[in-house]
Symmetry: C2
Subunit: 148 residues, 2 copies
């Protein structure tokens, strides 16, 4: 029902300021997808170090962790009302269970901040737990809110 | 000549670990384009406020300025050697005049940090100068290193 109402409101809005609104949705989708591309681009090298697939570089790890913490403040911004249609893997549940989604985004922010704090130690053993928690936070949200 | 040498080395590398390398270039291009999409997505609302096209919201402005400062540490990372080919508007000059390009990226980081510091004032008059300097820094690099 909610999706229908949104679609309807979209059509009604379209009659008034259609082009601008459509652009706004596309921009919002592009923004959040870009944020997740950067998240992945920073998580990847950290994961490789944690798994021993790449040599541990404390300074590089710290930089990636700080990037991730900054990005975690941006990932939620593109999920504006009405941007559930279009080229997106976001499921309708993002908007239908908004409080739960926002809670998981907040968990991600906390996990990323914890990881950035741990990364300052320069100690891989100290970093492993917070890294796993951050990765788990990503997966938890994908499981419930992202299409395969 | 340098582009030819790079292309040649690309071909030679391709023979050894071609698929991985091609993926690596694509990922690098995707990473930097995503970073600039987020830069634009944060500069836009700040610009609207500075120009008086949107009401000034000190907290929102500060958040966008902090995002920009964090992003300015990521924008340069995707310009890896060999990623001058493919779906990119980066001009060959990025790699041919690397020190100059890196210098402009560094100017951008400084300008974004200055803007984030000014944004803490919550005062639009204080913010205008540093915002103009940050926008000018973007344009200066685009003029020399980005295709139209």
């Amino acid at each position: 029902m909610k999706k229908m109402a949104l679609a309807l409101s979209g059509i009604l809005t379209f009659g008034a300021t259609g082009v601008v609104m459509a652009d706004q949705y596309e921009e919002a989708i592009d923004y959040r997808q870009s944020a997740f591309t950067l998240v992945k681009g920073n998580l990847g090298p950290m994961g490789a170090m944690v798994k021993g697939e790449a040599p541990f570089d404390a300074a590089a790890f710290q930089r990636h962790a700080e990037n991730l913490a900054a990005l975690s403040a941006m990932t939620g911004d593109g999920f504006i009302e009405g941007s559930d249609l279009g080229d997106t893997k976001a499921r309708a549940e993002v908007w239908e269970k908004r409080a739960e989604f926002d809670g998981k985004m907040n968990d991600f922010r906390k996990a990323a901040a914890d990881l950035a704090a741990a990364a300052k130690s320069g100690d891989l053993a100290t970093i492993k737990g917070p890294f796993a928690a951050a990765a788990k936070s990503c997966k938890s949200c994908h499981d419930d809110f992202k299409s395969k």
